[in-house]
């Protein structure tokens, strides 16, 4: 009876120590001021930045398409203003803002003197990403091909700067418009039509809904690892850890309190990111699954463990930060949280699998769809296993002696 009571009181005492040390960490963290500000502002900046670049941009992007219409249509002495060239421009959204927005194009008429410069040089000199040129006589060639099947193809010219990745999207928009025009102007019968549908569970979800979990994990891994590595190396340098070792606080209690603090920070970061995503981009709050908390806690545990391991091998604060960055940067780009992993070459997709963030991201994404939910368990299992293993190793190898 007395023995049972003593175990119970030991556990209670341990908990008190863990919470006591966690609150000390929290207090000293709050007192640093900028750290408080940046831990909170960092995820907000991340979600606003990537949300705008990758998701909100999708429907609102407006590509400024420069065009020069050299075409005039003349029969005898009569000039016609309503020509195939003008039809093409109308189909591209000329003086029709609704259509232009639908196509994501913003037509801008330009002029350069083709006897003095080439389109390519003019674009280079004026930093123009894409230019559409309707050549002289285009309408005439087109009209001729209606009556004469052996007439040459009436070509327009699309000049593009390949350093702008959007040049391919603009090209595909014009291509689609031309194909439709060809079919309609020449009375071509469509034997096959394409009907597109969205995958069933994703109908109510947007890109941002899949992006928020990734950003949360990136922020936790980056700021969590960097924060803990600098705290541990700094406390070792100042001898604080050595002093703590002379108190009743045990090493595992100290490690757990560090983890607890990282998990609390992780949850705060997650809430902030979700709220910002919701306010700025309409993040679907229904896509949050309770299991995400588990991924979040064990994710924090993984990165806390990794931070303790790194801090063990690399003694100096600066060196430890450098090694941490060498780890978190490739992880950020390869894990699929910022770049879609499917765009990476196959061997890089394999490399991505060595980073813990990959499994956390996969687990979180799979939780969002009923159809992929069966895949959650493997990825969540790996996340939990990594969390436990890394944290235990990190706690064991951390030494409390004065450097």
């Amino acid at each position: 009876m007395v023995k049972g009571k003593s175990i119970f009181s030991k556990i209670r005492f341990s908990f008190r120590k863990i919470f006591g040390f966690t609150s000390t960490t929290a207090l000293s963290w709050i007192k640093t001021g900028p750290a408080l500000f940046f831990t909170f502002i960092y995820p907000i900046i991340m979600i606003l930045l990537f949300g705008y670049i990758f998701s909100a941009g999708g429907d609102e992007n407006l590509y400024n398409l420069a065009y020069m219409n050299n075409d005039t249509y003349q029969v005898g002495d009569q000039y016609y203003s309503y020509t195939p060239a003008s039809i093409l421009l109308q189909r591209l959204g000329y003086q029709n803002s609704t259509l232009a927005e639908e196509l994501n194009l913003n037509l801008q008429e330009v002029y350069y003197n083709s006897s003095q410069t080439t389109a390519m040089d003019w674009m280079k000199d004026n930093d123009i990403p894409y230019l559409l040129v309707i050549p002289e006589g285009w309408s005439a060639t087109l009209n001729e091909s209606i009556t004469n099947s052996s007439a040459p193809i009436a070509n327009i010219y699309y000049y593009y700067d390949p350093s702008y990745t959007s040049s391919m999207e603009v090209r595909s928009i014009i291509d689609n418009v031309l194909q439709k025009m060809n079919i309609e102007e020449f009375g071509i019968q469509s034997f096959i039509q394409i009907e597109t549908k969205t995958t069933p569970s994703r109908e109510g979800l947007n890109y941002i809904d899949f992006y928020v979990p990734g950003i949360i994990m990136v922020t936790i891994s980056t700021s969590g690892m960097m924060g803990l590595v600098s705290t541990v190396t700094e406390e070792r340098k100042t001898g604080l850890i050595y002093k703590i070792s002379s108190t009743p606080l045990k090493k595992w209690e100290w490690s757990l309190s560090q983890l607890l603090w990282q998990a609390i920070l992780g949850i705060i970061v997650a809430i902030l990111t979700v709220l910002t995503g919701w306010v700025a981009f309409g993040f679907n709050l229904k896509s949050i699954h309770p299991l995400m908390i588990v991924a979040l806690i064990f994710g924090s545990m993984t990165f806390a463990g990794l931070a303790l391991i790194l801090a063990f091998f690399v003694r100096r604060t600066e060196a430890a930060m450098a090694v941490t960055m060498a780890f978190v940067f490739p992880q950020m780009f390869l894990s699929g949280a910022i770049f879609p992993a499917e765009m990476l070459p196959s061997y890089m997709q394999t490399i991505a699998k060595i980073f813990p963030l990959y499994y956390m991201g996969e687990a979180m994404r799979n939780m969002m769809l009923a159809s992929t939910f069966h895949k959650v368990w493997l990825n969540l299992g790996i996340t939990i296993a990594m969390g436990v293993v890394f944290f235990v190793i990190g706690s064991i190898i951390t030494k409390w002696r004065k450097e």
Binding site: S166, E185, A326, L344
Partner: protein
């Protein structure tokens, strides 16, 4: 009288000269101290050499043409069965548009003869004889695009046109939208062929740098260089200044003949040396890893342009200035890296160095307000696209930004503080 005047002028000249020489000596001393610090600071070494190398290896591997590991797009197809249509009984000629369509999709190849699509078939029923819904199946296998070919597609086309081909896709997937545009093209050409018609309206596409044979990843190199300069200068300056402030070095410095001007110039020169080390590391790695294996031995000579130096100077001035401004708000050196990252990280993505932001409404406007954008444009025009007018304009804007920001940084820096 005139001899005395000559003498005083000579003394004045000598004094100016000796002031200069002392100034240079002080700056030299600051640089050699920073060099020692550099050798002892793995974080600075990381940002000067390792970080740009990681970036160039990463982006080179993703975008270089030498990358032979192109991943075919995963296209899922579910066909509900096609009996075809016998157009000639003897000798029998069976028309089967399902097979024609699938073989057309299978035959598409990239420029280096790799299949564009990796085709997977979705069965109609599972082992328990339940009907498989292609959309749900696609989600389960984490695919992004699926083509559903209707039953007796051939006869539908011949006798009950227009026939619908259903495409189920993940609307957020870039791979799905690329695959869709390819399938659209095939269907368009199929419609023309069945009509016995041809494309009367065409579009010729012309790459404006066609003659220069530039790989996409080369366009990213100037961005990586400018980002390396920015990270070095912002983080290095913030860390050093906040450390100096905490240790009271600045207060000690004002008791020496060292002037604020010498400290600022010393810091800027030191950042320039680091920038040059970064540029050399980036170009050498890009050349050795991605260009030498292709047999392009002269690439490094082609990209070297003297205009890199003034742009690097502008970058160093600008970001050292920003670092000084950042150092003013940092109270302790521990939060230096956080503040530095906070300043540099958003700029890295807003500048369009890695992602084209020209069409994104708000971002494209913000992009025009940050100096990094102009530095990257100037470097790109000097090194890669060989376009002097653009290089000069952007260099001018970069220099204007730099002078303004550096002056603000100098004015805000106080050696007497703390």
């Amino acid at each position: 009288m005139s001899q005395e005047k000559d003498g005083s002028e000579t003394r004045k000249e000598r004094k100016i000269f000796s002031n200069f020489s002392i100034g240079f000596k002080r700056i030299g001393a600051y640089i050699s101290a920073a060099l020692l610090d550099f050798k002892r600071s793995p974080l600075t070494m990381f940002f000067t050499v390792a970080y740009p190398i990681i970036l160039i290896l990463l982006f080179g591997a993703i975008f270089s043409d030498s990358n032979t590991a192109f991943t075919s797009y995963n296209l899922y197809i579910q066909s509900e069965g096609d009996e075809g249509f016998l157009i000639q009984p003897s000798p029998p000629i069976l028309l089967n548009f399902t097979d024609t369509l699938i073989s057309a999709l299978t035959d598409i190849e990239t420029n280096d003869s790799q299949p564009f699509f990796n085709i997977n078939f979705i069965p109609l029923k599972d082992e328990q004889n339940n009907i498989i819904d292609p959309g749900t199946y696609l989600e389960e296998v984490e695919g992004y695009i699926c083509l559903v070919i209707p039953k007796n597609f051939t006869q539908e086309i011949l006798f009950d046109y227009p026939t619908n081909l259903t495409i189920i896709l993940d609307k957020n997937s870039q791979s799905a939208s690329i695959s869709l545009s390819i399938i659209n093209n095939i269907v368009y050409n199929f419609n023309l062929a069945v009509n016995g018609s041809q494309t009367n309206l065409g579009m010729e596409t012309i790459d404006i740098y066609l003659g220069q044979q530039i790989e996409y990843f080369e366009f990213l190199i100037p961005g990586i260089i400018a980002i390396a300069i920015m990270n070095n200068a912002v983080l290095g300056t913030i860390n050093r200044y906040s450390y100096f402030k905490k240790q009271g070095f600045f207060r000690k410095l004002i008791t020496t003949p060292m002037k604020k001007r010498d400290v600022v110039l010393g810091e800027t020169f030191w950042q320039l040396i680091q920038a040059i080390i970064s540029i050399i590391a980036i170009l050498l790695i890009a050349w050795m890893v991605f260009k030498l294996p292709q047999g392009d031995f002269t690439w490094i000579l082609r990209v070297l342009d003297w205009k890199i130096i003034p742009v690097a100077i502008a970058g160093v001035m600008c970001f050292t200035g920003l670092g000084m401004i950042g150092a003013r708000i940092v109270k302790n050196p521990e939060s230096g890296t956080a503040v530095g990252n906070f300043i540099s990280f958003p700029m890295m993505f807003l500048s369009g160095a890695f992602f084209d932001v020209s069409g994104v409404p708000v971002i494209s406007t913000i992009s025009k307000m940050i100096p990094l954008t102009y530095m990257i444009d100037s470097l790109r025009a000097s090194m890669i696209t060989n376009n002097p007018p653009i290089a000069w304009i952007n260099m001018g804007i970069s220099l204007a930004f730099s002078v303004a920001i550096l002056i603000i940084g100098i004015l805000l820096t106080k050696l007497s503080e703390d």
